[in-house]
Symmetry: C2
Subunit: 222 residues, 2 copies
């Protein structure tokens, strides 16, 4: 209970505005869950709850009937996810899937508890909706990338984002995994990586991609 209270106090701007009872109620309906890498946390069919990520990384994505996936965004420590509790926000009529991309620890607030407290507190509703709209912005960015941007540019952005996030020149992903993140086909990504390789921008092995020339990579993005 205290761990929940501690985390929520820091992360919820509305925490000080709701009653002691309501705070207790939300903590009482929270669960601490550990997901191992690769687990599907939310498959879009039910209302799993409001996720608060404590550590690790979750991938939020959509999937076609044939199993093709497109990553919408990823969530890291400190992030929250409302789309997993889409029943709380009626205006959300689509479903997403969520995987644990690394071993992850989450605090999960039950959807019904969150909904009931937000019913009497407009500030919570505004917080939840603003969070959803922020994701809308993320998704629009992904959409622009996919629809309008050439693959070399997208791949260069992906590699340099990953490198920045990991604070390393080595990106420990297979071609298959990179393709999956980019919503592209493995063959297409492999061909482009080979091109980058030939240009001396990267060095690619079965399990990882190593960035050799950051300046050249950056030039592809501009």
């Amino acid at each position: 209970m205290e761990a929940f209270e501690e985390a929520y106090k820091k992360s919820f701007p509305f925490w000080k505005d709701i009653s002691e009872n309501e705070r207790e109620y939300l903590c009482r309906h929270s669960t601490r869950i550990n997901y191992s890498k690769g687990t599907t946390i939310h498959d879009g069919t039910d209302c799993s709850g409001v996720f608060f990520i404590r550590s690790g990384c979750l991938r939020v994505y959509i999937m076609s009937e044939e199993g093709k996936t497109v990553t919408l965004y990823r969530l890291h420590a400190g992030d929250m996810c409302m789309l997993s509790a889409s029943c709380v926000i009626q205006a959300i009529t689509f479903d997403v899937l969520i995987d644990a991309e690394e071993d992850s620890e989450c605090y999960v607030i039950s959807s019904s508890a969150f909904a009931s407290v937000s019913e009497s507190n407009p500030q919570i509703k505004i917080f939840a909706l603003e969070l959803a709209v922020t994701r809308f912005s993320d998704v629009m960015w992904v959409m622009q990338q996919i629809l309008f941007m050439s693959l070399d540019k997208r791949l260069a952005i992906f590699l340099s984002d990953e490198s920045a996030r990991l604070d390393s020149d080595i990106i420990p992903l297979t071609h298959e995994q990179i393709a999956k993140y980019m919503g592209s086909a493995r063959e297409v990504v492999s061909r482009m990586l080979k091109y980058f390789s030939n240009e001396g921008i990267i060095e690619s092995s079965r399990k990882e991609v190593k960035i050799l020339d950051k300046q050249k990579l950056r030039r592809l993005i501009l």
Copy 2:
């Protein structure tokens, strides 16, 4: 002024909850604007205001640097648009473009007036955010269509949606226009229309598409 009041009373669920002064203030900062077909109403660079569509049809879309466009959704009489007033909602960090697809009449509430009244009324904020999240759902649908659905299915859905909207078997659009709405290339759409034509599903001329066999068209969608 009275026309604004009349329309807002019907459409804004929060209208009765705000003060007489605030209602007057919103009406005083409203403008009635007529746009002729083809005009760009909002080019994404400034905060044009909250649009309330009285008649006609607006197309909301995104555009690549090379001028390729993808329609996100259309707005008809009675609809409202918050994305044209993205400055009101901080969580919106992307821009859209809006064209008048037909001669259209709009009431436009100035962004700053709307923002200032919503600042003291959480119900307005919730209304605006919910509207934005509803569009998020629309956009996710478009994205799923574009990313995952085969062109025959997408084209069949487009034609039967248009036919239902116009309540007519004749869709008065050129191949070029259809391609534009679908975020596809003209040649690709023409080829598919020719295929539909060969199948006896439609009859296509330079200026319009006529649906001949609704059942067959529907079977493509399922």
